[in-house]
Structure formats: C-alpha cells, structure tokens
Point group: C2
Chain length 340, copies 2
C-alpha cells in the first residue's frame, strides 16, 4: 500500500494502458469497453480520484463558480446562497463563496480575487455596477440589474409592491404606508415602493412612503409610528414592509402600543424565506421565487441550452396570506425546502 495519493500515471501502469486513455475514461470520451473496464477497476483499487488543480491548470476549466454576496446573515441573501449552492452541487460544480460584508468598496477587490482563482463564472449580488473588470469571464447578476449588458436574474419587485398595495386595498384598507430600511446604494427594493405607490395612485388610495437608508435603522421607523398614533389609534390601516424582518419588528412595536394586527392595521411583508415562516404563515408576505432565481442564474451561467438567449430574466413573485391580513390563512405554501 503506497502512502502517496495515486495519480493517473499509477492507474495507467496498473491497468496496462496509456496515460491518455485513463484521461479519456475520466472525461467521458469514447474508449473501448475492455479498456474502460480495466481502467475503472484499477482506479477503484488504487482509490484514485482526479486532481482538480492539475485539471484546472491544463484545461482552464475548473468546475467552480463563485458567488459574491453582501453578507450571509440576512435571510434573503442566505436563502439565495443556499439555493445556488444546491443547484451547483446538483451539477457537480463547486461553490466559492465570497462575502463583501456590505462594503461596496470591497466588491471589485472580491471580483479580482475570484478571477485569480480561475473560476468558470461568477454569480454576483453586488451594489456597484462598474464590475466590467469581469471581462471575458461569464457573469450573471442576481437580484439586481447592474448594467444593461450584464445578464441579470431578478424578481419582479415593482409588481411585488403593487401586488401588496392591491391586496391591502382589496381587503378594505384606505390609508396605506410603505416602510423600508436598508442600505440604499442601488434602489432595488425601492422598486417595491414605486410599485406600491403606483398601485395606490391608480386606485386613488392615500399612501405614504418612509425610507430609512440604514441597514438597522429601525429607530426612525418607530419614531415615525409614534408620531402617527393618536388616541391609541394608528393613522394608517395598511402597512407594507420591504422585508419580513422589518414587518416582524414593526408588528411587535405596534402591538406593544396596543394596536392590534390585523384587526386595527393589516400588514404585508416581503421575501418569504423560511426564517419567519413555518407550516402556518405567521405574516402575510410577497414571496420571492428564491429557488427559481438561483436555478435560472446557474443555468444561464453554465450556458444550458434553453437559457442561452435570455439575458435579462425577471421572475414573478407571489402573494401568500398569513396572520397579518384579514383573511383565512393558507397552509403549507411558499415554504422553501430542499433535500428530501
């Protein structure tokens, strides 16, 4: 028993064939049955496995895709990363994950680093748009469009916003509020607000939008709410939050002040990741098609046939009723679950 990791040369010697033949076997290139069997037997006996670094050096292809995200401790980003990881593993690709920790300044440095590591492509969820550094390397932007000539997979944030407004209006709300927190480098979530406002105007319903450009700047939201509670009643009877997490905090805050949800005010959140959901919904929300976004991005990046032409894909979102609107809660939908 040797103490070194076996190489193709060892397998070739053991099987009594040429080096090139072994290579062919491991690359699915036509090889005579007898040869193939001998090689496979020898490889199994020696416990051989291909060295991806040698392969990557010689062929230039690495079976590795990089994903760049701001951070993983945000439910939507981590769900997306989870789905991308799943899709890549399905296809025998490896995932090199890079977090910028929400520092837009770090983004091009990350792209640089990733390029140097010779990946087959990049899936990026970035704020800055001047990533043309990417050059020849396949690049797909996910969740946000950063440039007209970079393929992009996003979900329909505008419709998500108008969907929320329409729903609240159809449920009887007459004065609506849009709340938003988060860094505002690129206004992807603002499209939700835009859709919301547009739908309100179309319906002739009064509405107001409060945008806080701070990742955790929830205090400003609370202050606003305080200002608009008169005699224990909130001036608004419908609230749309740009995040389930925000909806969660806002709901708690209102309830502590004696305002009941959904009796006094109805609420709709956004995202629909599992963090805030279980069998029974606990918040009405606009569900983003996370898995589908990931799958589409991966397919475009890997150039799978039917996706070859699509450069900009915008996937539909859906509404899921939960406990924060006045309607019977639906069950079991929208849960994002992989594996068996």
């Amino acid at each position: 028993m040797s103490n070194k990791k076996p190489t193709m040369k060892d397998v070739a010697r053991e099987a009594g064939v040429a080096l090139g033949t072994v290579s062919k076997v491991f690359n699915g290139i036509a090889v005579g049955k007898a040869y193939r069997d001998r090689v496979e037997a020898a490889a199994a006996q020696l416990g051989y496995s291909v060295d991806n670094y040698a392969r990557g050096l010689r062929s230039g292809r690495t079976s590795t895709v990089a994903m760049i995200v701001p951070g993983l401790d945000h439910s939507f980003f981590s769900s997306l990363a989870n789905a991308v990881s799943y899709e890549l593993l399905q296809r025998d690709y490896r995932l090199m994950l890079v977090t910028t920790q929400f520092d837009p300044h770090a983004e091009s440095r990350c792209v640089q680093m990733v390029r140097q590591n010779k990946v087959d492509g990049i899936i990026g969820l970035t704020y800055t748009s001047d990533l043309r550094i990417s050059g020849d390397l396949p690049y797909v932007s996910i969740d946000r469009c950063i440039s007209p000539n970079i393929p992009c997979v996003s979900s329909d944030n505008f419709s998500g916003g108008s969907m929320a407004a329409e729903k609240l209006i159809s449920l009887g709300c007459t004065k609506l509020l849009f709340l938003r927190t988060g860094s505002r480098v690129i206004g992807e979530t603002d499209k939700r607000g835009a859709g919301f406002t547009a739908a309100c105007e179309l319906a002739g319903t009064e509405s107001f939008s409060l945008r806080v450009n701070d990742e955790d700047g929830i205090e400003a939201i609370y202050a606003f709410l305080d200002d608009h509670i008169r005699n224990g009643r909130l001036e608004y009877d419908g609230i749309f939050c740009n995040t389930d997490r925000l909806a969660f905090f806002v709901r708690r805050y209102l309830e502590q002040r004696g305002i009941r949800v959904p009796e006094d005010v109805q609420m709709i959140g956004y995202d629909g990741t599992r963090h805030f959901f279980t069998g029974d919904y606990v918040c009405s929300t606009i569900v983003q098609p996370v898995q589908q976004m990931a799958e589409t991005a991966v397919r475009i990046l890997l150039n799978e046939e039917q996706y070859r032409l699509s450069a900009l894909v915008c996937l539909p979102v859906s509404y899921a009723a939960g406990g924060t609107t006045r309607e019977p809660a639906e069950k079991g939908e929208g849960l994002i679950n992989y594996g068996k």
Copy 2:
C-alpha cells in the same frame, strides 16, 4: 497589448530577471531590493496576478478552506458561515462552501468532493461522525463534537440551558417548559435541554421538556400547548426554546390565544443572530458567540501560533435580556455585525 493572460515568464522577461526570482517576489521570500522593484513594476505594467491553480498543483497548498454546513437557510448556520467567510477573507483565504441540505447521507460524499478539490482544510458542521475519510487533511468540527480525536469548537450548550433556567427562576417562574424542534441526529441542542433540566432540579423547580425531532415540526408543539392551556391560562410560567425562531412562533401562538408575554409567561430563546434582533431586543435569548467560534475554528485550522495546542474549545454563551422576560430591556448588545 497582448490578449493572453500574462504569466510569470512574461514578467520575468519584461523585468529582465529569472523566473525563480519572480516567484520569490510573489511569495515574500528575500529578494534584493533592486530586483524586487523591477519585478513589481513589470507585474503592474502587465497586469499580472498569480495563477492559484498552477500554484496549487505545484505546491500542494491552495489557500482555500472548505466549510460543510447542513444548509444556509437556518439563521444560526448562515451566521456562522458568514463569520467564517469573514475570518478567511481577512487572512486571504478562499472559502469553498458546501451544503448537505440536511441529508446526513450526503456528508461523506461532500467530504470526498472537497478533498478531491485539494483544500488546505475543512471546517465541518456535520451530523455523522465517521468522517475519518478526512485522513491527513486538517479538519475542525464546529458547533458539535463528532469524535474525541477531531478538534472541535463549540459553545457551551449545557451552560446555556442552565443559564436560561436560572434566569427564569430568578425572575420568579415556578413551572418551566423546554421546547425543542429540529432533526435529532446528533444531540447538540439536547445539551441545552439537559442543562436546563439539571438547573431546575438543583433549584427544586418543576419542569418539563418537549422534544420534537422534526425540522419544521411545530404543529406538535402547538398541540402540546393547547393541551396545557386551561381556562385561558397556560400551566407554565416560563418557557425556554432551543431556537429564537421557535420562540418567535411559540410567542405568536400563545398571544393569539390570549396569553401575554411576558406578563403571563416569560420566554427565553437561543442563538442571538441578527435575524430576530435589532437595536432593541425583541426576545430574551442566550447569545452564541458566533464570531468567536468562527475565528477560533479558523485559527486552529490554520495553525496560528497561540492555538496550536487547543483541540477542544468550548466557548461561553451569554444572556441578553429582551422583551420576553420581566426586566428592563438592555440595548445594543449582542448584535453581530461585521464590516465597517
């Protein structure tokens, strides 16, 4: 302007030095000042960067660490992955992330795949313990000890549990309940239950534990609660949940049945990730030292000096008061935040 990616040979020619000298410059090995300057100038002019695959093939070292986690759409796992990513990037290491999607069967396949990709080490959060496949490759288990001879970084789940019990008791609770969901392949979170029970017994306080071995099996918890609500009052006045997420759902469920938190029942959750927290705590919880766990695991794996000897590290957890216990809420603690 050439159209090929420049190599060390190009830099050497441009700078008028030997190939080996260029290599030394990029590896921080002693080189005469004049030579170093010439090389750096040439490299900058050509836009050269080292090829990690060639380097990995030749040297065997890849500056890449793999992390294996069950999934990223669980707040604790994704926070941990986020922190590990941060620590690695700080040290100029790359992260290859692998998700098993909670399939214990997939774990050894993942280890296999990762080994073949020639990483410098593995940080694993796995359920199965027969990962000796790892062989010579440095391996650090995080969050759970899987074998006495594999280094492990975890947090003190037992103390976390007893801390929760002691807190609830000191706040006046007389009948305690421990609730737990999640797959039960390895009983790491059960240590929380054990610590909880031990502390209750020590204090002579009545307690009960309900364990549901299902990742999303919250229905059974609801059913139990229903059984123990008599005349609109819950039999228990203190609840400890093995997850903030679970605490969140349980609280909502109780409130819908007219049981107030913290007036009628006090609650403590577990984890303390940012998903359920903001400036003001919204749930009392046992905070896991996520960042410290990640840092320690990385340091052990990378063999940084002061960590060379530590094989099993168990880090302390802390209590953070929030809105679900009867005490003034503290502010701004426990928030996990990276970047500037």
